[in-house]
Assembly symmetry: C2
Homo-oligomer: 78 residues x 2
Amino acid sequence: MTRVVVTVMPREGVLDPQGQAVQGALGRLGFAGVTDVRLGRRIELELDGPDPRAAAQEMCERLLANALIEDFSIDLED
Amino acid sequence: MTRVVVTVMPREGVLDPQGQAVQGALGRLGFAGVTDVRLGRRIELELDGPDPRAAAQEMCERLLANALIEDFSIDLED
């Protein structure tokens, strides 16, 4: 069993409307000095199998990330 | 300017319907050996100010996380 952490973030240069919404909401709540917000996903997977990194890579390509607008990274724990 | 990374995940023991949906979809795509999936958010903030960690803590409590069902962690970079 391997714990795999997949991080999916909007690509550099791609509009991030969720991040912009959070930035706007923080400003309206009175938080000053928030110059940028990017919002992405963290996916923690428990995987059985011989090559969890390769499996996670394929999962990202087929389901977990949208390569047109998102970058992903894969980290193995244990 | 400090880059602050906030990670928000469903609390242990709290139902995670998004994670369950991803786990089901991975199974239907033919991925075997996926024994658990938890899905959360990664929020990257650029903050100006004297105490970015305290600011991020308050942002989590007021907007970024729902303490009833989510845990958050704060990491400073730079």
